[in-house]
Symmetry: C2
Subunit: 320 residues, 2 copies
């Protein structure tokens, strides 16, 4: 079944208000923010990725959704498949533990299963956060708002490309791909003010189109203002191609949000060393998504992002 | 990694009080009861099981944990793998919907992913219930309590055996295997009074040993008093072998609980047509688990239950 069909069918089941129409990063229940991500070997991580990094990543990608709703990590349930490789499994759990400890996430339970021989590893995590005073959704962007990103773009995709050409690659970009950092403190500081917010997991342009769709507005993004890391620029430069790569790469776990134009986010108590960049604006008159560079319109690339990572046979939802 | 090793490692991570030492059916958070079960093709369901029954079962087995804690179904997150078989996937979601509607469970979100070609189907569900005035744990059984079961035992295992010898089998026992019914109303009525309660998913004897272990007591079970359905007796008789089969079969989704000896559960407002049976007692002096039949001691079988279902290569936890 195609993913769009599945989502359409699921929307007819998930009619409770807290489901947010299956069109947001997370769901809401009794002041809690709920999310679940499943990751599979060969689809969301490489067989050659260090086991501890896979455990870390499973927690981090879920907490990125919690961050995007301005919530605080509270509790998690783990779906764990066991393999015949004891060292791998133990190291995976080391990664789970490191991430839970780093972000104050209490592992409360879950399930352990064994899959039939030869099956890929599959892991799931349900993460639960406590909502802050306000929970920004994808749907609140308004005409005149400015569009911002916390974090840099393209590093993880560049790291994945390095690993795909040489599995022994190391360095900063590989590190970002394998051990993403959820922007929890920034998310909590921004949530009371952001008109819309989500995390960038599938590529900036694809995720921006989701805010535009949910908010019923258009977004104009200036390619020249995308935040690129020094490591990224050393690897791929900062020309138009590199910027389009960064805008569509995925796995960034940055925060994408809109603010009233008059609000300067530097007046908020963001963590030190937060990278924050104004990358565009809400333009209700235009198309859902438009790109400019040096003041000139740039055509949208054919692919706005990656709906799944590391494999190219089937589509995957960012979240039902 | 062996499951016991994994659980031991996970217990060192899951130290929050709400995790209940990873030794109960569910976890507790802010008045909510949380559980997650993952099911895999060839392990927890048969490739030939009707897709709608697999969806139903995924919801029902999670709600059985909610029932065992006396909670009311509130919300769920689904981890859905999509396949190339659109009719199968759609029918699976029909089963999810039917179970959610039957039990008032609001689907709030989750994740859809595609697995690499050839991988078995894997589905996960996180179910969240609202706790009642009291949440019975596995650990509260006390000397002198009586031991009870709500539901019948052995039907699902007998149905699975029929399907394994002939995949075209039909009938009441197959129906119980494929479409278990969580004992939600009985669980809610019993929870204020039960000193300990859990659901029977892996076999009566194995699950009873878990209550004995968690409560630090011994349990004596009278094989002659096990609740057997008419369909079960027609298929397998009610001799000693049949009773041991029923006591170790698994997939029952019955409730196993202890009550103060003076309390007659028929005085509680159980649903009409509830099958409730006194099957033994707490015996703090004896072994963790002992069996009697016609007043005589019976040796424990080598296997107390099935830690996983439908496959026999690897162990599976009932819940981490």
């Amino acid at each position: 079944m195609r993913e769009s069909q599945a989502i359409e069918r699921l929307r007819r089941i998930a009619t409770a208000p807290g489901a947010l129409g299956l069109a947001d990063d997370a769901a809401l229940l009794d002041g809690l923010v709920l999310t679940h991500d499943t990751i599979a070997e060969g689809v969301h991580f490489l067989s050659t990725d260090p086991a501890a990094s896979v455990g870390w990543k499973l927690v981090a990608v879920n907490l990125s959704d919690i961050a995007a709703k301005g919530a605080r990590p509270a509790a998690a349930l783990l779906s764990l498949t066991l393999s015949d490789d004891e060292l791998w499994d133990m190291s995976f759990l080391d990664g789970i533990e490191a991430a839970c400890e780093s972000y104050g996430l209490a592992l409360l339970g879950g399930d352990t299963i064994a899959l039939p021989a030869g099956a890929p590893r599959v892991f799931g995590l349900t993460a639960i956060g406590r909502a802050g005073e306000r929970t920004p959704l994808r749907s609140g962007a308004r005409q005149g708002d400015s569009l911002w990103v916390v974090g840099t773009l393209g590093d993880a995709a560049a790291g994945l490309a390095q690993l795909q050409s040489d599995p022994a690659s190391t360095g900063q970009l590989v590190e970002v791909y394998q051990r993403p950092v959820p922007q929890l403190a920034a998310g909590a500081a921004l949530a009371p003010h952001a008109t819309a917010m989500m995390d960038v997991s599938d590529g900036l342009l694809l995720d921006a189109s989701r805010i535009a769709q949910a908010s019923g507005c258009g977004l104009e993004i200036d390619l020249g203002s995308l935040p690129l890391s020094a490591s990224f620029v050393r690897e791929r430069g900062d020309g138009a191609d590199a910027r389009l790569f960064a805008a569509t790469g995925g796995d960034d776990y940055a925060l994408l949000f809109t603010l009233p134009a008059a609000l300067d986010p530097l007046s908020l108590s963001l963590p030190r060393r937060t990278t924050i960049s104004r990358i565009g604006r809400v333009d209700a008159q235009g198309k859902r998504l438009s790109l400019v560079s040096n003041g000139k319109a740039v055509p949208l690339p054919e692919r706005l992002g990656h709906e799944h990572r590391g494999n190219s046979t089937s589509p995957m939802a960012d979240r039902i």
